[in-house]
Structure formats: C-alpha cells, structure tokens
Symmetry: C2
Subunit: 398 residues, 2 copies
C-alpha cells in the first residue's frame, strides 16, 4: 500500500461490468452468444464526446490500467506510470477507457467463466479469439459508451496490434493510433517461444486438457514455467544484469573458493541443482506470482492471438495495402534493447504506412530495459508520449 | 545411411572405454572413486607424440565426433563437417581424440551409470561436475594416452570453455587453444534460460527427484521442453525463418480467409491450440528426437557446468590474470548472428588475452545460423580453421 495515494494518481477506481447480448461472430467461424466486458474509465467525457482514449492491453494485462481499487491496494494498475492527471495520458484532458479483453481472466467472459450452454466452466471450449475479434468487441463497447470516434487508441506489444487493427477495420473511428513496441506480425522465434510456453502449460499433469477447474486443480507449475520463458523475452540481457547487479551471475565470488553447498543468501554456490544465482530466484518469484493470478487457458488463448495476428491476410500480404483506407495519424515508438519486438519491426510498420501515404511519427527510444520498457517510466518515452497527446488534446478539446 | 561412406570421412570408427581407478577430487569437494570415459580417436599419433588434438564437446555432444559406427549408421558424428582426411581438423595430419565427458550419457560414467557404492543407478546422487573437473579428467586421459602436450585443444560453446580452462590449468600441455562461439562466463539471460530448462525437467511428474530409472520411467516431456527452449537459443531468428521459408510464420496465407480448422498439411490455421506453424512442428520434432537419446540428469548437470563456469574465480575476477601463465597461442572465432554467445563475448576473451600479452588471432564470421553455426560447414569458418590448423600441423609434424 502506498503511504497515501499520490496526487497524480486517478485515485480509487471502480471497475464496471458491461453485458453484451448480441452474438459476436468470431474470426474462426464460431460465435459467442453473449458476453461481459470488465472496464474501467478515468477522467471525464467532454460534451462533444470527442476526448475518449481507448487503452488496449497486452498479453497479461487487464482493465485495471491505473489507480487503486482500495486504500489497501498495494499496487496501482499496470499502466499507472502513463495514465493520470498530468501524466502522458492525461486524465485532466482525456476520458480514458480500459477493458479486459474477451477470453481474459480478470472478469470479462473467458475460459474461467461459466458457459451458459452447459452450466460448466468454458475451459478449453472457450473459442480462440483473435485481435480482430477483440477490436470488434471494443467497437461495440465504443457504441455502448456513445463514442463515435476515439481521440486515440493506444497500446503496447499485443496492445499495439489491436491499435493497428482499429486503424484497418474502423478507419473513421479513431483520430490517432499510438502503437508502441509492436510488430507487424510475429517472427518464427516469437512463435517458437509462445509454443514452448503453451507446451509447458499443457504438459502439466494438472492441466487435464484444460478442464482443471472442473477437477478443482490448477496447472500452476506449467503457468509458472510459461511465464519464466516469457519474462526472459521481455527483458534485455543487460536489464537482467542491472536488475540483480553482479549477483545475477556470480554469487559473492570472494567466497567461492571456500565452503560449498551453502544457500543463496550466503552468496555461495550450492554445487547441487539448487538455485545459485539471483536471476534464477527472481524468475521463480515472477513465475510464481503470475501463476497465482493468471488463468492457464487464457494464457494459451493470448499467445494464439499473438501468433495469428497478421493484418496483411486480406491484403495480398501487403501491410501498406492493409493500411490504405486508414484515416488516422500514427505515432509509433520502439525501444533500442527490445529483442522481442525490436525497432526493425516497428520500422516495417512505419515504412508500410509511409508507402500508403499516411501521416506517421516514429521515435526509437534508447532504453536498456528490453520489451518491458513500454511499461516503465523511461523519461524520453514519457516526454514524447506526453507531447504528442497534448497536441491530440488540443485538437479534441478545442 | 549414406549411399556409401564419403571419401573424406574417417570411416567406420569404434569407441573405446577407458577405466580410471584413481579417485577424482571434484570442485565441489566431493570425489568420484573410479570412472570410465568413452573415447574415439581418428588418425595416427606420430612418433614424436606431438600431433594429438583434443576435441571438447558442448552441452549435448559426446565422444562420437566423426565417422560412422557401422555401414548402417544414418548419420556421422556430431562434428564430421570439421574432422576427417582433408577437412579442417585433418586426420591425415592429426591424431584426434574425442571423449564423452564425465556425467555424460553416452557411455562415460554419469547419472545413468550404476553407482558401485549402492549397486543402483547414480541418478541425482551423481555429483555436480564443473568444466574444471572435466579438464582434470581430460588431463588424466592425456596421461593415459601418453600425450604430454596437445598440438591443440579445440571446442565450441561449452567446449570452448573447456579449452580456456586447459590454457589456465595446464599451460604447458597445449600448443594451441581454439575457442569457438564461447563466452568468458554466462550472462544472466543464459543462466535464466538454463534454469527454465532445468525447471521443465524437474517439474515433469516422471522425474521422481531424478530417480526415474529406478521407477522404470523417464521425464520425456520435460526433456523435450528443455530442448525446445535450448534450440530456440541456438538458432537466430532469421535462421528460423530461412529454415522453414515463409511457412515458419504463415501457413499458406492464400487460403487463410477460407476454411478454418484444418491441419498443418493443408496450410490453414486451426483456430485451436494445435500446431499451426512449421516452426512449432520443427521444435516438437527436435525436442522429441533429443528426448529419446539424452539423459535428463545429464542435461541438468551440463547446464549447471555452464552456469558455474567462471575462470576468473581464483584471479580476483580478472580474466587477463587468469590467463597470465598460459603459454599457448589462441584462435578465437565467433558468429555474427549468435545471440547466445554473441561476438562481444568472444571479444571480451580476446581483450583479456591481449591484456595478458598473449598471442591471439580472432575472426568474427558473418553467418546467419546463430549459435549453431559452429557445427555447420560455413565456408569462411571452415577455411579459417583449416588454414590455422595447417600451420599447427606444420609445426608439430615437422
């Protein structure tokens, strides 16, 4: 818990659950007859209903992007660095909408919801959802909220892919597309890491073909492993080194020649199969914590949504053709040490947009934190986003 | 099986098993009372016993580095591209010795051997072995073979670390150290990937705390996962793309908008949790094949040997001090797309050697294949190694 809630926080926020009864046709050909979306909003919608900003979350995000759920809350929402009064996504000027995507596990309808058709958990019967399906459900959310056009749709990583899809599928419904640390589609290596994560989960004996909730169990170890793999790809090598200092790689080397078999706290090698290095215990901790809050089936769905993302599919493989009808202005940002979706991948998007004659700003930010940088208060990143969105605010609040 | 054994092959080779009854004190303080080492040799030792070359294997290698075990053998040894008559490690000029390291699973004493003290499999009781321990056992092997000084000790990756240890621990016993695609020690990221691999294995319900052989079972899925993670780090992103062509990432996109739910062969997305992309089935295949031949406990030991490698430990953290007494000449090679042990890491070794006033040649090879390149017939690499070793041959066979 923070001593007191900081002044530049959106403060205590309350999620809302919106129910949608119109069936949603999915990319796979399947449909969801009805569903609920958990959302949060921050700031006020102006009279012209023109200052709304949509936040699209990445693999493990949800609707709780900013603020606190109670005075006792130990941590704010996942993008609290960016969203709040006076922050880059300034809630003094914008009405910010954040949701948990379909298939998620933070309250929106997903695999851990009850399937009304069977009265049991959806589990593995929850249909595979794609970025396109999410954006379709987000457009319905905009309708519900009476937002004809977003001032901006903003997202990092998988969130950035949703922003691209908005610009392609609903060209009239956003003024600005802010695409951060994204890629036009996954590389073979990206898919490979996702597949390892999925295999880790499905190999867990507690997975029970995805019906673990019916068995009253949970593939905790598998989710933990999946997250450990993921986590490595979110950090740069040097970010890892910085995070743990020298200890990441060498436990107190002054003592190494001495006694063995001691535990981590003494800084000595175990010469067993124990955890010897701080990077190992850090990963364990991250994996454990994640496995306590995240649904295994949702993790599988999210990675598949990443793998399937390819906006060029209906455009003869051409990304610039895909963007042809887009009518918004684009801001793209990437981070120098991001090896998951490196700057080259953002430049592919930028080049496609330029080829399509679109207005695009691009900033490659020197940052040591790897892919994770998009969630962190990197000063140049914060400044650039702030400046860009101030101009957007001037446009829509004029 | 090759149609016929190629002319530049060492041909049919026969492993030998050498028994050592003098106890080996290990770095951990434990000891192994007696042990066996499987070796192969290629070429002839000259009268002066000066033309012997030691090959040190990497994580998953063994003594079978070149040639075939029978006419029916489908594949030659793991470094057959490099070792043979007329090849870079030319068996017309060198007596090549290759061994399976202690703790291995290809015939040398290791976790799947019987522990004479108990009459049962060693399993998890096999002590952790380090690079230093291996080199000590290799020095005894040299004694046994009557080799006072190696013309060269050669190794890639973890093999290169053994070469470094030779140059530090036995400065008089090698003329040349050939260190390929190595690192002075692991990075935090390297250790993190190893830990994920270990966790994959130990989380498998068939692991039984390492006593799976006593249970008549095997943690196949865990080893498969570990290998999949490893394999991703051995290949560059572009190597993966090249390996599968466009198919790596997109199954026959012309059909994507059509029917769904078909299998991989039809090139269409399943919109399920099945394997959709060729990179996934490739990794499965690699993982499966590996899990059929490799012992899980050995995998754990090998990754720990990597993690623990730090030649600076007795030298106040200084690599140049570690090399101070080394008396050999050094050849280092690295590969441009290797992101496991990238060229920077080799340059760290080169710089330490230069600081210590040693003779060192260094070549950074443009190659697209990632870390795996050290096992592949990359022409510039083969040429450079050949040229260097021809000079070595001239020295020792004069």
């Amino acid at each position: 818990m923070p001593e007191s809630i900081p002044e530049n926080s959106v403060g205590i926020v309350k999620p809302q659950c919106l129910r949608f009864d119109e069936p949603l046709e999915l990319r796979s050909g399947k449909q969801i007859d009805s569903y609920e979306l958990m959302i949060e909003t921050y700031g006020e919608l102006n009279a012209a209903r023109s200052n709304a900003v949509l936040i699209c979350h990445a693999l493990s995000g949800d609707h709780h992007a900013a603020g606190y759920h109670s005075e006792d809350d130990s941590k704010p929402g996942w993008w609290d660095t960016c969203i709040g009064p006076g922050k880059p996504i300034d809630t003094n000027h914008f009405f910010v909408v954040s949701l948990n995507n379909l298939g998620g596990c933070a309250g929106s309808t997903g695999p851990s919801s009850i399937n009304p058709a069977t009265g049991k958990f959806y589990g593995p019967d929850f249909p595979v959802v794609t970025v396109r399906d999410w954006v379709k459900s987000q457009a319905r959310l905009a309708d519900r909220l009476g937002i004809a056009q977003w001032a901006a749709v903003i997202g990092g990583s998988l969130g950035g892919m949703q922003v691209m899809r908005w610009a392609i599928s609903y060209p009239q419904r956003l003024r600005h597309a802010v695409i951060i640390a994204a890629a036009p589609k996954l590389s073979a290596q990206n898919i490979a890491f996702n597949e390892v994560a999925r295999q880790s989960i499905t190999a867990d004996p507690n997975f029970h073909d995805g019906r673990y909730l019916e068995f009253g169990t949970y593939p905790k170890k598998g989710v933990m492993l999946a997250r450990m793999v993921g986590h490595i790809t979110y950090l740069s090598d040097s970010a890892m080194r910085d995070k743990f200092g020298k200890e990441a790689e060498t436990p107190n080397s002054a003592n190494i020649s001495g006694n063995f078999g001691r535990d981590l706290r003494t800084g000595q090698l175990s010469f067993g199969l124990n955890v010897d290095f701080q990077v190992e215990s850090y990963l364990h901790y991250q994996g454990e914590r994640f496995s306590e809050r995240f649904d295994a089936n949702t993790y599988l769905l999210m990675t598949k949504a990443l793998d399937y993302f390819d906006p060029t599919v209906d455009y003869e493989g051409s990304l610039s053709k895909a963007f042809e009808k887009s009518d918004c202005r684009f801001l793209l940002m990437s981070f120098s040490s991001d090896w998951r979706f490196p700057p080259e991948r953002s430049r592919e998007i930028v080049n496609a947009l330029l080829d399509a004659g679109k207005q695009v700003s691009y900033l490659e930010i020197e940052a040591d934190q790897g892919h994770d940088a998009f969630l962190l208060p990197v000063p140049r990143y914060m400044d650039a986003l702030h400046t860009y969105l101030q101009r957007v605010s001037d446009e829509v609040n004029a």
